[in-house]
Symmetry: C2
Subunit: 657 residues, 2 copies
């Protein structure tokens, strides 16, 4: 591990400089600026010393506001006259007054339309919010315009719920309760969202499909494109986001004026390669997106700078004679903000080689979303490596000199289940999705975050607004840039270790422990229906047996690993374990979510659900129309989960029966 | 190749003895006799010297006649009185009079029922036969009982076509035109089908699903089973097979009396292993089925004996100190006759390890179906190896002493496209299906066959009748057993060569040549609609570019192969090439047919179709209801095919960009 530590330390951080350089202009996907940035990154990566760097284009469906016919919401009087209109743009922060091409707040992929009706407030627009309205309050949203506050769940899920409730439009707003931290001033005096700020974002329900017109296949020039009517995940109703200064006015009848256009647009990934010295056909990938809604001070540049810095560090090491054992791939993805499009299209394009050769995917989106401690979401087999690496990185916090990042993190966010820092499941909402959930490649992400127990606001206040600038990071989030440096060292440490360790640093016993936890948890959920469980003879025995089987096999595997002679063979078993949890049939109605242990929640794309097939079968089952059918589906999903866990165990057994 | 030739020659053939031993009793899937045979095979394989042998059970849906309420067809008079009944059984051949448990001719998985109506003769019951009846002759089969003669296509397709036409029952009969060769006597005086004989067989339309109740998952004890209503591929109408002596009577109104029962039944595969010395995690599989409709003299014992003999030969070599470089797996499948169930369930059970580790699958069903020459169906990458091996095997024909099997085969059945023996595409109808079409494992089969240019009868006359005895092989098909020996040496040569060659003997350039041929062929089919092609802007350019791309890459690959140092890496590229042609999304409506280049024909399961997605989109397109939609689907399928060929090419490029 000495060599790895050296490599980690070699990440001499230029993120301050990079952050400033990459955030001067907007870099919206599909724009000339974002293509220029792609070329600049390509050229710099070549200079740093990568073996090869390429621009990889795809032609995907994007969505932009109509430049001559702006989107807004009006209050109309009884004569239909517009007596109040919401802002057409956010007040531009100081120093950026001359910047052109700032896209105004909008909901990408909104339907066009000018619906007019009463507004119904639907809280966060969650499934349970609509249940409450309909079942307890007797409020019918059908044919109405609804207004939901941002937060708690992915905005696409809010829009889907509104459509299911029959709404004919949905307004999204940022409530100060969710986008202002206590005792903090709005930007530029603090890091809270100003009243004129609003959250951009796509409102798709892609379920992992990538480009809406080419599900399952890369959006190349020759690729067949479905019609817009058959496209995946497009909302059928107008959607628009507003800030809280505008939101307070909307208590009457409103009219939405939405003229956003969908159009097929060329996007560009930048892909860089370092050939592995010993196992060139084993790939370790570090990828993060480049496109930003506006300046991208936090999202994504705080992360993209880390990728850039990792490339520079690797290039320096290569000039000293180092070459990784395995191949390293660096990716600057485009159009993440429009539905993870660049990363998903590349995954679709290269699914076959990735399936056979990819060891791990590390994601590098925003490196900072708070000022408290580290946050890691990853596959269970990476837990041990994450702990090991954070023990080799220094705490970036003032007053913690001499403390490791692990110690600092452990102190601030201990797991509820064990004496170790808290690590979460992967959900979705960033570019690891296709790699982990569709292709079954061991994946992880790391960033600096807020205190999840005390800070109640959603993501970070200025998220996806024009106020995500270089200055907000420099003044508030990380003046010394030491937090970004710590995140860079975690991400860099992961890829260097995965690329260089002779035996892959993946831990199957940790996977077994997580499976046990998830099995118990889904069983507890089912136990809320004891009578139905008995009536329909629902048993979780097969799942518990499978998890126990996996646990025994995983322990045996790691014991054999200690004196394995055929390193290539055991490494293949380690690499393919994550793949073994995928099922080509996918989850019900979600063919591109193929991982049977993890999927983005059906009710919130950002959150990860474990045993998602069983979870969804149990969801709201007491209100199912046909109980027999509903409980049969629970049994079917238990059977699939049990089989999948057993099948994964099979891959860890000695290779000959 | 000297060592391989020695290994091939070591196949000292006991097939005569084995054939007699394994055909004394019926071995119907699910019967005690077939379990006893499984145990006997397991014990003998252990004695021969395999490292391990296991019985692997599954609980699958089978179908048997009701023992107390037999199936038959009646002619009824105007009062409904049965004035003629078809036979309840075949006359038992001499020497087998005391055998019990001979299952009478029936159509496995027929629906129960006693429909009564006029008979409509539908020729072979092919798609084109029904088109002709409906479109040219104006004959409506709806609500009628239809009668189709066996032959030309898989019987399940006939039943499906009858259901689509609205028939309420279907009688299948063996016409002498299809089941009697000219100048040949009926058995026992010759090898033609007697008038009292009839063809058993399943009438499912599984499209690769395996057990109808557990599609996609192995039928283990804990596995969730769908209801019979939701089962895959079961016919909804009664079906029954009769011989030609009975068929001549059926010109009037008939009543079908069908009481066949579906029941979940335990079946057993026998799986034997020889651990590879150098690459134990690379698998070469030889598999064939054990279950027979009755005695199985040809189907399957002439093939099962070859598997048994290969195990014996391998065991002998091992006792001399040999061990294959890669792992060899031998399989005796159960319930092939009921829809390839044993082999498909095992493939489902082990999909993950097979996906990562299987090099090739060689099938061993009936080794003889004629007396003329060799017949090989295999993936294009195996062409070269097949030719090489047949050049090392002697011709089994009298008067051809000193001639190789290759020379004899070449002389008798030259390809129309090149100066080499004719090799066909794989269709379906035997146990390679799940391995090749679903999992994308390079596969092949070899058998002795009739003269396909002059002998017009279907399969072989006594196919699936009680007259498939040891004696029919010994007296007529292969009195010296030299033809079986030649087939054994081809099959054995394939697995020994695939298991032992340091560089895998798979030829990507042959694949490229076949792709070119298939692309031209599907293009010619589309060109039958020049006006529509132009109107809908249908272009095959992307497919031709992809095939050209593949061709260039395949040539480059083989050039690099000549001086490859990293054998493991290029072998993985060779092994995974077949996998690269599969798509987890499957073909439209056929999720378990995932190979984009090959699939069983939608109109005849026995036949292989190339570029099946495009083919099916073009089929009968002039009669499509919505032309725009139909031609859009053609374009979509061209796009998928082009992408798949390009993606496969990608896997053969140098592993680092």
């Amino acid at each position: 591990m000495g060599a790895v530590r050296m490599r980690i330390m070699s990440l001499v951080i230029h993120v301050c400089h990079l952050n400033r350089k990459f955030t001067r202009l907007p870099h919206l996907a599909g724009s000339q600026q974002n293509l220029d940035l792609a070329k600049q990154i390509r050229d710099e990566w070549m200079e740093f010393g990568l073996d090869s760097v390429e621009l990889v284009p795809y032609d995907v469906l994007l969505s932009y506001p109509n430049k001559t016919n702006p989107n807004y919401i009006s209050i109309v009087d009884h004569l239909g006259t517009e007596i109040f209109n919401t802002s057409l743009a956010e007040p531009v922060p100081e120093g950026y007054e001359d910047v052109t091409d700032i896209v105004p707040p909008y909901s990408a992929f909104s339907a066009k339309g000018q619906p007019e009706d009463e507004l119904v407030y639907v809280n966060y627009g969650r499934t349970e919010d609509f249940f409450k309205l309909e079942r307890e309050l007797g409020i019918n949203c059908s044919g109405k315009i609804v207004i939901a506050r941002y937060g708690k769940i992915f905005r696409g899920n809010k829009v889907k719920n509104a459509m299911l409730a029959g709404a004919k439009g949905i307004v999204l707003f940022s409530d100060p309760a969710d986008y202002c931290a206590d005792g903090v001033e709005p930007y530029p005096d603090g890091w809270n969202l100003p009243g004129g700020g609003a959250q951009r974002g796509n409102v798709l329900n892609l379920n992992g499909a990538g480009d809406p017109l080419t599900p399952g296949y890369p959006a190349k020039e020759y690729t067949y494109r479905s019609s817009l009517e058959d496209a995946v995940g497009l909302p059928k109703i107008p959607v628009h986001p507003i800030g809280y200064h505008d939101a307070v006015h909307l208590l009457h009848k409103v009219r939405m004026n939405i003229h956003t256009n969908n159009q097929v647009t060329r996007i560009y990934n930048v892909i860089g390669w370092i050939r592995g010295a010993v196992e060139p056909d084993r790939y370790v990938i570090l990828g993060g997106h480049r496109d930003a809604w506006v300046f991208g001070g936090i999202d994504p540049v705080s992360g993209a700078a880390v990728v850039h810095e990792s490339v520079r560090a690797a290039g320096k090491l290569m000039k000293k004679g180092w070459r990784p054992r395995r191949t390293l791939i660096f990716a600057s993805w485009d159009a993440e903000e429009f539905g993870l499009l660049g990363s998903t299209e590349w995954a679709e394009d290269h699914a076959r080689v990735l399936q056979e050769r990819a060891v791990a995917y590390i994601n590098a989106d925003s490196a900072i979303e708070g000022m408290y401690t580290l946050r890691v979401d990853c596959t269970p087999s990476l837990h041990t490596l994450v702990y090991d690496i954070t023990k080799k990185v220094s705490s970036p916090e003032e007053g913690e000199e001499g403390m490791t990042l692990y110690q600092s993190w452990h102190k601030r966010d201990n797991s509820t289940e064990r004496d170790a820092p808290w690590i979460s499941k992967l959900g979705s909402g960033s570019d690891f999705e296709a790699y982990f959930i569709r292709l079954g490649i061991a994946s992880g992400r790391a960033r600096y975050t807020k205190n999840r127990k005390t800070e109640r606001y959603s993501s970070y206040p200025v998220y996806h607004s024009v106020y995500e600038t270089y200055e907000i990071v420099e003044r508030f989030y990380d003046p010394s840039f030491r937090r970004l440096e710590a995140v860079a060292r975690v991400r860099g440490g992961l890829i260097f270790s995965l690329a260089d360790s002779p035996v892959l640093p993946l831990d199957c016993v940790e996977y077994a422990m997580s499976l046990t936890k998830y099995a118990n948890s889904i069983y507890q959920l089912a136990l809320k229906h004891p009578a139905a469980m008995q009536q329909h003879s629902v048993s979780f025995d097969s799942l518990f047996f499978a998890v126990e089987n996996f646990t025994v096999v995983a322990r045996d595997f790691h014991q054999r690993l200690d004196h394995a002679l055929a390193v290539r063979m055991v490494n293949d078993q380690l690499m393919y374990l994550e793949r073994a949890f995928t099922d080509p049939l996918g989850l019900p109605g979600r063919p591109f979510y193929r991982h049977i242990i993890f999927a983005p929640s059906s009710h919130n794309k950002y959150a990860g659900e474990s045993f998602p097939g069983i979870y969804d079968a149990l969801f709201d089952i007491e209100n199912a129309v046909d109980w027999q059918k509903a409980w049969d589906e629970v049994k079917r999903q238990i059977s699939i989960a049990a089989f999948t866990v057993n099948a994964a165990a099979e891959t860890l057994k000695p290779v000959v029966s």
